[in-house]
Structures are given as C-alpha cells and as structure tokens.
C-alpha cells in the first residue's frame, strides 16, 4: 500500500482510497451510496444541505509518536465524535471507521429529509422531476408517511418564476442547495443567479438582462436535485418514465458533445414520436456531463413542419412532388445528359457516411467534388492532430493551450469551458485574436494583432522559437516572445485555430504557421499535443477525412461553366444570393436538403434528407474523435438518409456504392481510408467506466445527465503519432493592399440565424437582430451613435443594420455576425453610409 493510499472501513467494508479524498467519493467508489443534495462531484463541497450526515470514528494516536493507540486486543482505539459529520466535506485518513447506514447516521439523515419536507410541496404527481428526483427517492426511503409539521403552515411561494425564457424556477420546490448558483459561478463563470434574502425566505434570483443570461443555463436543470429548475421546453411536457432514450451527438459545432434524445409518442403530432428534450450524455473526454444551451434547445428544426417530406422535380418551371422512383430517374437522366462538367458541393454538417458516398458518386461520374467551406486545416489535423490518449481534461500545470483567431465561447462553448478549466488547473493559456474575447480573462498571455495578421503573428512566435532571422519582421506585437517561450517550455501544448478574420488564402497560411510552430516546439505526434481546428460546422473534419476539401478558387469561379451541380447539406444560393448569377442558366441542379432553401428553389430535382434524429451515422469532431449517433424517431415523411439517396442514384448510373446500412458504408470507409481502418460501428459502441459515475441509479450525484452506455467513440491517431514525418512549411505573406477603406469581417455568434437555430422558438428571443460592430473612430467619422442605422455595401449588394460601437475595434474594421443570405463568408472591402432617419421615424 502506497503512502498516498489509506485503508478505512465503511459500513463494515474495508477499502483503500487516496488519502484526502472526500469521504462521499471514497464511499461512492466502493459502491456505497451516501445520500446528498448540495454535493456534486464536479464542484467544491459546501456542506450546506447536511444530508450526508455519517458517523466517523478516528483512531486515537499517541501524541508523541503519532502511532495508533491499541486496546487490550491490540486493535486501534477508535473515537467517535459527539456529532454526526458531513461526508461531503470530510477528507479521509488512515484507519477510519465510518458508518453511513448505522441507526444513528440514518436517524440524522431522516431528520434532514423531514426538515426539507416542511418546506417542500411534495407535488411529485405534477412535477417534471418526479421519477428522477433524489428528494423523491429519499422521501420514499425515509419519509414517515405522516407530516408532523402543520400542513397549513407549509411554505407557499411562487410556482413559476421565469429566470429567463429558458429556465423556470419553482420556489416552493427549491431546497436551497445552491448547486445552480455554484455551477454558474464555479464551472462556467457566468454568475448571473444568486441567493437573495435569508432564512426560510432564501430564494434564487437572477440579475442579468435578459434573465439567466448564460450559454450553459440548461445544465442547472440537470443538476438541480429537485424539480425547482426546469427547462421551458420540457416543463409539464412528459413524465420521465414515458421517455425513450437514444444516444446521439450534438450537430451544432465541432466539439461533438455526447447527448441523449429523449423521445415519446405525442398525441399532438398524430401519435408520431418526437424529441421531448435533449440531455447531456457523459463523456469525460469530450463534454464531461455538460452541454451548451444551443445543443439543448436548438433541436426542434428536425421536427419542423417546414421540413421537406417528398421528392420533387421541376415541371414547367415549378417544383412538383413526385415518387422516389420518378425523382431518382429524372435525376439520373439529368446527370447523364448534363453531367459533362459536374460539380458536387457538400456541407460539413453531413455525416461521414453521407460524405463518403457523395465523394464516390461524384468521382464515379467524373465530376469534381468539394466541401462548401473556406477554412484550411483538415489535412494538418490528420497529420498533427491530438490523437489517442488525449483529453483536454488532463491539461493543467506545465501545459500550454493556444487559442488563435477564434471566439471559442461563441464557436464551441464546451471547448471554451474545458480550456478555461484547464487554465484554472494551471495550464498556461495564450489567447491571440484581433479583438477581445471572453476567454482572455483566463489567459496567461494575450496577443492582440491587427485583423488579418493571424499568420504573421504565429510566424513571429516561430521566430522566437527558432531564431530564424527571416521571420524577424513578423515579431512585432506584445506577447509573442513570452508566448513562444511558454509553448516551448510546456510539457504538452494544444493549439486551437479558428477562422475569424481569415479568408481561404490566409487560413492556409495560418494553419501552416501553426503547424510549423507546433513542430518547432515538438508538440506533435503525442497525446495531448497538436492542432485542433475550430470548424464552423460539426463534421468539417469528417469531410476532409472523406476526401472533400474547400474550393481552390472562389466558389463563384467554380460555378461558372458548370453543366450540372449536385448539392448536399449546403445552401450556397441561400448563403449568397449573388451566386445564382454565376451558375449557367441551363445547368442541371440536384439538391439533397432538410428544408426548402433558396438552393432548392434553383433545383431541378430535390431529395428530402433525414436529419440526425431519424437515422444513424458517424461524425468526426475537431479533436478527430469519431462518434456514433443513433436513430431516435421515425423518419419525416418519405425522407431518406443522404448516403442512401446517393447510393440509389449511383445504382441507376452504374456507380457501385454501399446501400444497405450506414454501418456498411463505414465498413467501406474502413477499407478505403487509412485513418479509418479500425473504425467499425461495433467498436464505436464501446463504453468505459467513467468518474464520477452519473446517470443510472446515482442520480444524487449527476442529476439527469445520462451515463454513457452506447459508446464513447474512437479517437483517430495522427500521422505524426504513427511515425510519419511532418514537414512544416510556411509561406511569406503577400503584400497587403493599401488604402482600401473599411473591411467587414464576419464573426460567429452561438445563436445565429441558421436553419437549425431559427425554428427553435425557445432561442428565438436570444438570437436578436444582427448588429454591425464598429470602432469609435469610424463611428465618430460617420457621426454614428449606438443603434443608428447604417447601410453597408459589399460585393455589389447593400444591407442595413443598426450599429453597436465597441471601443476595442480598430479603425477601418467592422464586424458582422455570420448569417445566411449575406454572401459574407470571408472578410472583404465594404462601404458604409449612414441612413438618415425618415421624417416618420423622427417622430412627427
């Protein structure tokens, strides 16, 4: 037994555990439940609820020698204190004798439950938490059946307090455990809720505007040990025991959070199955037990009545619904006749199976296939990505994390959270961006460069690492030298690379520079080291891995002279209506889509695709973890999974493809693509014991987060990890064009106006209208005040937005949230003209 391990006895079981471990955890590890309410294994103990009262006996020691004193039978003399103690705040030591289920301990626990019930309404029959509620379970266990407390004097308080429009508080049910307050403060650092008042009037209040303003607010409803906090989508929506649980992967960003889709047949939906709520599924390597509010609330799009349900073909200029057989025939004919110069364009939200079959089909028809994106880095991720054995949760003292050109909180909230926590554990965080982002709060060093200078900034760091004098000219902003030193000295270093302020050309240079920096500092080819691209879509990495890459030229040029266009999971005409003019009028267009997008309006054949809730498939996260999602509900209308539609067309055109199952497509991928050689659905379903154990019967500890019994996915190895040499290259920066006036830079907002977010009525109020962010100098020059309307012209189009002035934005730069229909994928030159208020608006 090592000295860091201690031996103790709990309820007669002898066990070993690390010295100083909380008694509640030591017991849990040995499979002994200690009832808790305020304690949560992800947060510091506070000892407030007093539920975990236990008897603790400590061996007497000789004052001089420190040796145990022995009784006449040579057994250590154990001293039990006069009081019960809280297991959640007590750290274990050698030789303890603990009773969790003794008569005395149980009596104490029973008394606490009785106290809690004097205030609690016991409205379990109408409570959303009923069936998965720790207080309900303990009431059943300890409750005497008859209340000694005067029923008429029970607490009466507000039953519906909307902390925000997403989270509703029932003040009668709250047991003041502060888990929600502590989560917001300790875990996510959005301290927007607090206790107010005192004693029995102690109540949760929010003081943000809008209420409970946090991207992580939904997690508080999981860890709430009673039915006090509920999400407005699930409130009175169902009983937990009526729900089926399907494992899935969140489709909104490249983190790949493990989720559960709870489904039920719904009368209002004609008896069909619908998703009632989304909950986190534990994966300590990916999302622990948390998800962001976008993942939790933006799911209704998949069940939206606007979804395409039937194949369509264009007849006499109009789209008409038709049968699959007919639509497939028309599509095949069209491709035969017009497919001489075929372009296939796919989006990064499709699954690996879809993207693989897409590539196979277009290739089989001698067409060109591309990924509808501009950001570079997929290849480098294959070469020097994180690899097996990595876990952001392992980073801490001695390690470094670099985040460049990304507003991680908006782009990938759970990565933001895990990077923040790594920094709090002692990892040195370097945040490099052209503007302030919230992550800077936790950074050891902040590097602020001019918009567009991200590659040069990294090259400047490289200068300090290698001493390469040709890079001298790039070493010009504060923090480069110190950052270079931190990265060089770090045991492990992970670099998150985003696309903010980049165009396709500078994104390439940025990833090359980042790769060179990681290689020069020897942070490649080993676990917990390497690159993580912060993609704009969830499965962009999967697309790269399936062989799809962004266009070399501007998309407009790619569209010119095409005779046919095949679109899957992307909407180039919606993203930029100007593109319609680029594609020849007679080009034959096939679209596989969920919704009737502007691209569908241009289509000759439209195939309704299934969403992620209706089918299975795999996604590859930015960390290159391949994860499996399962079907949760029956398909919408006649929709089919993308990979299957492609295989059926292929069959008509003589391109042989796997058409039986998604798992079958993955088998083909495994044969065909080296990195995926070991990936099969069976292995993706593997599970591992995780700490802390949540879900299942231990709902006291994890709340309603699900345990992971359907697969934790597989982390792909990087080429560098497999011993392949990585040859860093970097390019000199081109001369910057001078005096081009104002540049408009697209930025990411978590709640964007994308097709997957807009149908969520819940998030609608949080999306807001896009504002043009402008610096003080430009605002002053144009005589603009906050909220004033401005007309912005770029690329021959004009748009109007209200302005928001931000002192942090330099002259000559304006920011606009990414949005459909704007045609603003990358930074570009623009003109600003203030809009004069009309006489009506002046208030006549």
């Amino acid at each position: 037994m090592s000295s860091s391990q201690v031996k103790l006895m709990i309820d007669g079981n002898t066990l070993e555990a690390p010295r100083g471990m909380l008694l509640v955890d030591a017991a849990l590890r040995a499979g002994i439940d200690v009832p808790v309410f305020c304690y949560h294994p992800k947060m510091e103990p506070v000892g407030m609820c007093r539920m975990c009262l236990v008897e603790i006996g400590r061996p007497s020691r000789d004052r001089q020698s420190g040796e145990f004193l022995l009784d006449e039978n040579d057994q250590p003399i154990i001293n039990f204190g006069p009081n019960l103690e809280t297991a959640c705040t007590t750290r274990i030591d050698e030789g303890w004798v603990v009773y969790i289920n003794s008569e005395r301990a149980l009596e104490g626990q029973k008394q606490i439950v009785e106290f809690l019930l004097t205030s609690h309404p016991l409205d379990c029959p109408v409570c959303d938490k009923g069936g998965e509620c720790p207080l309900q379970d303990l009431t059943m266990l300890h409750g005497p059946g008859i209340s000694r407390f005067s029923f008429h004097d029970k607490m009466n308080s507000l039953k519906r307090v909307a902390l925000g429009e997403l989270i509703i508080l029932d003040r009668e049910r709250c047991i003041q455990c502060a888990r929600c307050i502590r989560f917001q403060e300790e875990i996510v650092d959005d301290p927007v809720i607090e206790f107010s008042n005192r004693g029995r009037s102690l109540e949760i209040v929010t003081f943000s505007e809008p209420g409970f303003d946090s991207y992580f607010s939904g997690n508080t409803t999981d860890i709430c040990p009673v039915g006090a906090l509920t999400t407005s989508d699930f409130r009175f929506g169902s009983r937990p025991w009526e729900l089926n649980a399907a494992a899935s992967i969140c489709p909104h960003c490249p983190v790949g959070c493990n989720i559960i889709l709870n489904t039920r047949r719904e009368v209002k939906m004609g008896g069909s199955e619908i998703v009632k709520r989304v909950l986190p599924r534990q994966n300590e390597m990916i999302n622990e037990i948390w998800i962001c509010d976008k993942g939790r609330f933006a799911y209704s799009y998949a069940m939206d009545s606007e979804r395409l349900s039937q194949p369509m073909i264009r007849v006499g200029g109009e789209l008409e619904e038709t049968s699959w057989d007919n639509a497939l025939k028309v599509a095949a004919e069209g491709l035969k006749q017009s497919g001489a110069n075929l372009l296939g364009l796919a989006g990064g939200r499709a699954s690996n199976e879809d993207l693989y079959n897409f590539k196979q089909l277009i290739q089989g028809l001698d067409g060109v296939s591309m990924l509808n994106d501009f950001m570079a880095g997929g290849k480098q991720n294959q070469q020097i990505g994180l690899g097996p054995g990595s876990n952001l949760g392992d980073l801490g003292v001695g390690d470094a994390i670099v985040v460049i050109a990304s507003d991680l909180l908006e782009e990938a909230p759970i990565w933001w959270l895990r990077v923040k926590q790594a920094a709090e554990r002692g990892a040195k965080l370097i945040v490099a961006n052209a503007r302030f982002t919230k992550l800077e709060k936790y950074s050891a060093h902040t590097v602020r460069y001019s918009f567009g200078d991200a590659p040069e900034t990294v090259l400047g760091m490289l200068h300090y690492v290698t001493g390469d004098s040709s890079l001298n000219k790039y070493a010009k902003v504060d923090g480069q030298e110190e950052s270079a030193r931190i990265i060089k000295e770090a045991t492990n270093a992970v670099l998150f690379m985003g696309s903010e302020g980049s165009d396709s050309e500078s994104s390439k240079r940025l990833v090359q520079a980042c790769g060179s920096l990681l290689a020069a500092t020897e942070h490649i080819g080993k676990a917990n080291n390497g690159l993580i691209p912060v993609w704009l879509k969830n499965n962009t990495q999967g697309a790269w891995d399936m062989g799809l890459t962004p266009p070399e030229k501007h998309l407009a040029e790619e569209f010119r002279d095409r005779t046919a266009l095949y679109l899957m999971a992307c909407d180039p005409f919606g993203d930029n209506p100007e593109m319609l003019q680029e594609l020849p009028q007679d080009a034959f267009v096939i679209v596989q889509e969920l919704f009737h997008t502007p691209s569908v309006d241009r289509a000759d054949v439209v195939f309704p695709a299934q969403s992620f809730i209706e089918r299975d498939g795999t996604l590859t996260s930015g960390e290159r973890v391949v994860q499996l999602f399962y079907p949760a509900v029956s398909p919408h209308g006649e929709s089919l999974p993308d990979w299957k539609i492609l295989a059926r067309i292929g069959a008509l055109l003589g391109v042989a493809m796997e058409s039986t199952s998604a798992a079958g497509v993955m088998n083909r991928i495994a044969e065909d693509i080296e990195d995926y050689g070991e990936i099969h659905y069976r292995e993706l379903m593997n599970r591992e014991d995780q700490w802390p154990p949540v879900g299942g019967k231990q709902i006291y500890f994890g709340g309603t987060a699900y345990e992971n019994s359907q697969g934790i996915g597989i982390r792909l190895s990087s080429r560098a990890q497999r011993g392949e040499a990585y040859e860093p290259v970097w390019k000199e920066s081109p001369k910057k064009p001078k005096g081009e006036g104002i540049r408009i830079v697209p930025i990411v907002k978590l709640y964007d106006q994308g097709t997957t977010v807009l149908p969520s009525l819940l998030l609608a109020q949080r999306i807001g209208q896009p504002e043009l962010v402008i610096g003080q100098e430009d605002a002053d020059r144009l005589l603009l005040q906050n909220g004033a309307q401005v007309e912005v012209q770029w690329n021959g189009t004009a748009h109007q937005f209200p302005v928001a002035i931000d002192n942090d934005i330099p002259e000559g730069i304006v920011l606009l949230p990414r949005n459909r229909q704007l045609g603003l994928e990358m930074p570009m030159a623009c003109n600003l003209t203030p809009v004069k208020p009309t006489s009506k608006e002046k208030g006549e």
Partner: protein
C-alpha cells in the same frame, strides 16, 4: 469595586479625547512593542496573560493568533463589532467612551499578527458610531499613530470601518468575513479556519472589540498582573451587560468569576418592586437559561463555572427575569428571533428555526397541545450538532432549557389533542 481596565472613562470621563488618552498612558503599550519586541514576543505575552476571546466562545486569544499560516502575507485583522446578541451592549460603550484603547489594541494585535490592514466590522445600526470612529482614525493618522512607518519603525498600519447590513449571523466570524467581502452573510465551511484562509482567502485574525481593548494594559502591566485578576482559567475582567428585571441595568466591568449575586444585587441593586428572581439568561438568547436558585446566584461568572452550572457565559449579556415572566413567552421570543436571523444556508437551522417558531406561535395563540412539547424537543434535537455553524444550536437553547425547568409555564397554554 475592582479596578477598571476597560471602562476607564468612568474614572477619566474625557478619555475619548486623544490628548487625554495620551496623558493617561495612551499608546504606551504600542510604543513598547513596535521595534522593541518581536511579533512572536507579543503573541507570547498575550498567551501568558490567559486572555480569552470576549465575543462568546472564550477561545484563548494568543493561541488563536499562533494558528496563522506562517509566511503567508498579506494578513488581515478583523474586529468583530457586530454586537448583535440580544442583551449585549458592551462593545458599543467601549467604542463610544474609550475608543482609543480599542484602536491601540487593534494596532497591537496587527503588530503581533504582522498585518498592515485592519477592518472594524460594525453592525448596521452602529452607523453613527462608525462615523465617529472614522473621525478618530483620521485623527490618529494625522497624529502619526496610523499610516506608514509608525514611530519610524518598519510597521505600517491602516484601519478601516465597514458597516454591516443588519444580520445577526454576521457576528459569526466566517459570515462576517463573507459580508466584509461584499457577499451574502453566510458562514463558511470550516476548515479552512480564518487563520489559514480568512478575509480574501488570506490568513486573518478575527477578534472581538472587548478582547482587543484588553491588549494595551496587558502590554504595559504584564501578563502576570492580568492573570492576578479573575480566576485561574478565566483571567482579567469582563464587562457584564445586565438587563431585564433589574433596578439598575447597565454595563458592569468586574473580574471574571464574580458571582451572579454580586452582579445582580450588589451592582444592579436587585430586582425592582420586591419581586423574586425566576431565571437568568447568561448569554443573551444563545445559551440555556438558568433557573434562579441560591446555588446559581452564588455561581461565579467565568467560562468554567457557568458551563458547569448548565449554561454558557458567552458574551455575558445577563438577562434577569423575575417571577412575573412566563418562560413560554421567552421561548416564543427567542425562537422568533432565531427564525428571523437564520441565514438559511444549512437545512436544519433554516427549517428547524421556522418549525420551532411555528409551534411556539400556535402555543402563544392558545392553539397548542401537549404533544407540541415533544415535537419541540425532537425538532431541537434534530438541529443540535447537525448545523453548519453554531447559530443552529443556539436557537434551541432557551427553548429546551425553558421546557426543562419551567414546563408549567408552557402547560398553562396547552390543551389535550382532540
């Protein structure tokens, strides 16, 4: 009457004038140590004096200081002037009438604790007093008793006043620290104790006003002199706040160990209207009441003797009740008080204080039954020893001792359950 150590304003009425204070040996104690004695030597003197915390717990002051985590700076000294115990009004008189002795005591404490900053946490209702103290602190700074390099030595000191928002719980030292940090006044989990992680997570000494006011005379006259006053284990004098049915209520500074009889009859001139004494609450609302008897009256008021008699000396706010008092009314008042003051952080206190008050309300309204006494005792038992801080335990004391000694007072309001 014995010598006055703390209430020197009774001998020298103008001692709240700095020049008068200086003329009467003021700041001699501080001058004797700054640059002349090491902080450890000061800690040793205070340990040797046997001075115990006057806030209520009676913990040896020098020992408390010696728990400060070594080599961690800055450190803070926080003065608990949240005097909120029902029947306690001693700290207020020190601060009003003999303020410089307290301020000198704070300086001595800071020197011993190697702290450069002290905060006086005043209860919210002391706003006028806080203003006066602010003026006195400014004056001390002008006159070179506060600020940088005091007496030309390597000792900097600033004292600040902070006024609370009116919560009894903020007299509990960790809740006080939370409040001082601008947070909701709720006790912290211990350990870590303030000596390790106190104000702003730095090593902190928290001492009561009266405790620190004892320091200047201990330094100038020595530990042995101090030990010669009071009892062996409870040395020095204590200010007893005497109230209730008493002919001459007020603060009385007497040696620890002085009997209840001497305080009540010799100093307080006994019970008015020729009534008989019925019970004593020796520590405000926070400790069991003592039924008056010859034996109790002859009990010495020191930490050990009162404890042996079945209660606590606490802050020595002695509330005397004569034969006209209905003890169930007293229990009603104390449960009402604690229900109002419970911070709500831990379950047994939050719910238990409400429950006890709820039952006492029914009893007071004539709706109580004999079963209620058993309920009260069992609720109290469910609270005691299970709370996060001592307030929970306190809340049961007057009630359960009242039922134990004066059940007939309760019975008079009760009926059989129908």
């Amino acid at each position: 009457m014995s010598e006055l150590i703390l209430f020197r304003h009774l001998d020298i009425p103008d001692i709240n004038d700095l020049d008068v204070y200086l003329a009467n040996g003021g700041f001699k104690g501080l001058r004797e140590i700054v640059g002349k004695k090491s902080p450890q030597e000061v800690v040793d003197i205070v340990k040797a004096s046997g001075l115990r915390g006057r806030g209520g717990a009676g913990f040896p002051t020098g020992v408390k200081w010696s728990f400060l985590t070594p080599d961690v700076f800055p450190r803070y000294v926080v003065i608990n002037a949240d005097e909120s115990e029902p029947g306690a009004f001693k700290d207020r008189e020190i601060m009003e009438r003999n303020p410089y002795q307290l301020l000198e005591g704070i300086a001595i404490c800071c020197y011993a604790a190697q702290a450069q900053t002290a905060y006086i946490y005043c209860r919210g209702e002391f706003w006028d007093l806080a203003k006066e103290l602010d003026e006195k602190i400014a004056e001390l700074k002008d006159r070179g008793f506060l600020g940088k390099k005091l007496f030309g030595e390597k000792f900097d000191l600033e004292i600040y006043i902070h006024v609370g928002a009116g919560a009894y719980i903020c007299g509990e030292e960790t809740a006080l620290l939370e409040s001082l940090e601008g947070k909701l006044g709720m006790p912290r989990l211990r350990p870590p104790f303030p000596a390790a992680e106190g104000l702003f997570a730095k090593p902190t000494v928290v001492n009561n006003v009266e405790t620190l006011a004892n320091l200047p005379p201990i330094i100038t006259r020595g530990a042995d002199w101090f030990r010669s006053i009071g009892t062996e284990k409870s040395s020095g004098t204590k200010i007893f706040s005497l109230s209730g049915h008493i002919a001459k209520p007020g603060n009385y500074e007497l040696p620890l160990g002085t009997s209840f009889r001497e305080l009540i009859y010799d100093n307080g001139n006994g019970i008015p209207n020729g009534n008989a004494i019925k019970a004593i609450l020796p520590a405000g609302a926070s400790a069991p009441l003592l039924p008056a008897s010859e034996e109790i009256l002859d009990t010495g008021m020191d930490y050990e003797s009162v404890s042996k008699a079945g209660s606590q000396l606490g802050s020595a706010s002695i509330i005397v009740m004569d034969e006209t008092v209905d003890i169930s009314w007293v229990a009603y008042k104390t449960t009402k008080f604690f229900n109002h003051e419970s911070c709500g952080k831990c379950t047994p206190c939050r719910e238990g204080t409400y429950w006890m008050f709820n039952v006492m309300q029914h009893i007071k309204n004539g709706e109580g039954t004999f079963d209620d006494l058993a309920t009260l005792n069992s609720v109290a038992e469910s609270i005691v020893g299970k709370c996060l801080c001592a307030l929970g335990d306190f809340s049961t004391m007057a009630l359960t001792s009242g039922i134990e000694y004066f059940q007939e007072d309760f019975n008079a309001h009760l009926r059989e359950k129908v």
